[in-house]
Subunit: 395 residues, 2 copies
């Protein structure tokens, strides 16, 4: 496999964009990434496009990437459409990485784009439900109450939160501190859907979505797109003396039946550490999948930042804040940056790229980090994640 | 890039399977391919899964591959879901090829599965429409009359047929002979949806779908799945002394704006010939995308089997029959084998694999062929194909 680098990244502001279509959003992210990479659009040899919801939300399936690209003039190249629920963006990035690592192409595009908002909210929720085995849906806890107008995913996260509270004595306040931290980070991020720092009280007093989760502990419904220009190390030398390298690209779906010990995040992270020849102690900046706060809490433990059960202590210590020892979600995470599901994985890649380059503005981590990790989760199946994608970037 | 081989293939019979779900169909194809490859299911390291319609037909999006695989015990591996309209199956095969060619994995699965039938036929047609830019749908010829209960694709094929008739004097009878040939081939194929040879009269007398196309000149609505086990040449040596090689794997979406001369099939085939270092004169068996008869007629010319405008003469000559010089669609093609859209590309790979191995039963081409090609088209955008995937297999 050849060495692969991220030559450029770009994203739209995340948020509710009633005036912008999936095409508009996707194209804006592409133009920004192309500009950041300092290449011409015509140098892109292939495109890998992640989107999860357009089929159910607008009826656009099948050739989603081609439809987005057709307005840019980038036609006549290979376009691969991919989806892996909330991890569609990092799946597109993985395919782009594989295409370059294989030697098949030198410069490719990875795009994640999603328009979740729709005047009929039931379409949005139907799209979210489709990230499970829909035949199993009716057996989910809380499905009966929530089947209209709410995603079952918050019930799943709530059940993880309750289990952590029961097993390890984690308090509601501790959980809420993750949302407080991420809202503070989001307030420094011009791309974030929510740019207002929240107090602990404000988080705790927001309405209950699925006990113990409050509204401000959960990611919102969002529109947005993010893109990366991925290329070979050799080509990158024409553009930059110090590119961002892809040290590991791992996609794993769920867990093997006979493995009761490790969940899918642990397994995927373990593989990524092995490939990159690094461990959790080497990480200097991390973006995790905090679709709701338990996602981040558990990721602390699953990624090996702290022992099992000590996620609560880690957030309380302040070490995962921007000024701490191992900043997590400096972008604001899914909770504050927003979560246009197919775009999130590439927004994480963009954030880590900016942090490693020292270009993250007001939210830049001091002593410019050299090693970053992204964790992007998608879907739910048989009690585990539908997919977990881990990327390690180095600079 | 490493050399890549097809170690095993399998498919379900294509047809209307009201009693079988997408999961049932997908799993059956996987089990058959695994058995054909003579491997254990657990040896599969990654899966690339093509499906185009489940989101709109059943509401199952996002993790379609994982949902199909979960019942097989094949969990905890990377699963990549991909779609490219009617070329989703060959897109999955291309990704599987890339994964092995890159050296990332040694043994992977490519699966294409589709359940098109639904008690509400409008869902089926909505799924087919989604293979266009749905915002442009209303500007399509015939859209107003056909928007309920019929695919606009047959209008597009009809318009191609009329143009060929006008420009080259091709007759309706000549067009119908492609359907006659393919129905004869389908009558020899136990996997085919239609296994009855049709007379010229019967084809011409079937009802008009979109003038000049008659029902029996068009592919039907189908359910089915097809799979391939793809592996490195080195690993294949443990299983077989004479594997089927992937000599070229090309995916191209539409045509560049500035290219008025070559359509996407010509461009993709040209690339494939270059990569395989072969020309149309070397081909001994071909499966093309005859979603309707003009698809096959034009493919004769676009693939270089005959000069432009002489497709009609080629079918009249009998040379594309099973006993002819260059048999096309010995399986019966999409018209007779059926067209479960995401599965078709892998059914083509399966057919060519069987033909190259001399295992095609009653439809086996004499003097066992050594070089075969598949052409799988998907979607429609800006006057050209959404994607064209060409594979060349050698033995």
């Amino acid at each position: 496999l050849r060495n692969v680098v991220v030559l450029g990244v770009g994203m739209t502001p995340f948020g509710k964009h009633p005036d912008k279509s999936l095409k508009d959003l996707g194209r804006e992210a592409i133009y920004r990434a192309v500009q950041d990479a300092n290449i011409e659009l015509s140098q892109i040899e292939a495109a890998y496009v992640g989107n999860a919801a357009a089929g159910i939300i607008t009826g656009q399936e099948c050739i989603r990437g081609q439809v987005i690209l057709s307005g840019t003039g980038l036609t006549g190249i290979p376009v691969i459409n991919t989806e892996n629920a909330c991890a569609s963006g990092s799946t597109a990035f993985h395919l782009a990485w594989m295409a370059v690592a294989s030697g098949l192409y030198d410069i490719v595009l990875a795009l994640g784009a999603e328009k979740m908002t729709h005047p009929d909210k039931n379409r949005t929720f139907a799209a979210l439900q489709s990230a499970t085995d829909i035949e199993q849906l009716s057996s989910f806890p809380g499905y009966e109450e929530h089947k209209e107008g709410q995603s079952i995913f918050m019930d799943l996260y709530a059940s993880e939160a309750r289990e952590h509270m029961r097993k390890y004595g984690t308090s509601l306040e501790t959980l809420a501190k993750i949302a407080v931290k991420n809202s503070k980070n989001g307030s420094l991020n011009p791309y974030a859907q929510y740019q207002q720092a929240q107090s602990l009280e404000s988080v705790l007093q927001s309405r209950i979505i699925s006990d113990p989760l409050r509204l401000k502990m959960c990611s919102p419904i969002s529109d947005g797109a993010a893109a990366a220009i991925v290329c070979s190390e050799k080509i990158a030398r024409q553009f930059t003396t110090k590119p961002v390298h892809v040290a590991a690209s791992v996609v794993l779906s769920g867990r093997p039946r006979n493995d009761q010990e490790m969940d899918s995040v642990q397994r995927a992270a373990g593989k990524a550490y092995e490939i990159a020849d690094l461990g959790p102690e080497d990480l200097q900046v991390i973006e995790v999948h905090d679709a709701a706060v338990p996602g981040e809490l558990l990721a602390y433990e699953q990624l090996g930042l702290c022992p099992s059960g000590e996620g609560g202590r880690l957030i309380e210590s302040g070490e995962t804040e921007i000024g701490g020892k191992i900043p997590v979600n400096p972008s604001g995470g899914l909770i504050s940056r927003g979560h246009p599901i197919g775009a999130t994985g590439l927004a994480q890649i963009a954030e880590i790229t900016w942090q490693l380059r020292g270009q993250a503005g007001a939210r830049q981590i001091q002593n410019q980090p050299k090693v970053g990790l992204t964790e992007n989760a998608g879907g739910f199946l048989n009690g585990d994640n539908g997919t977990i994608n881990i990327h390690i970037l180095t600079h």
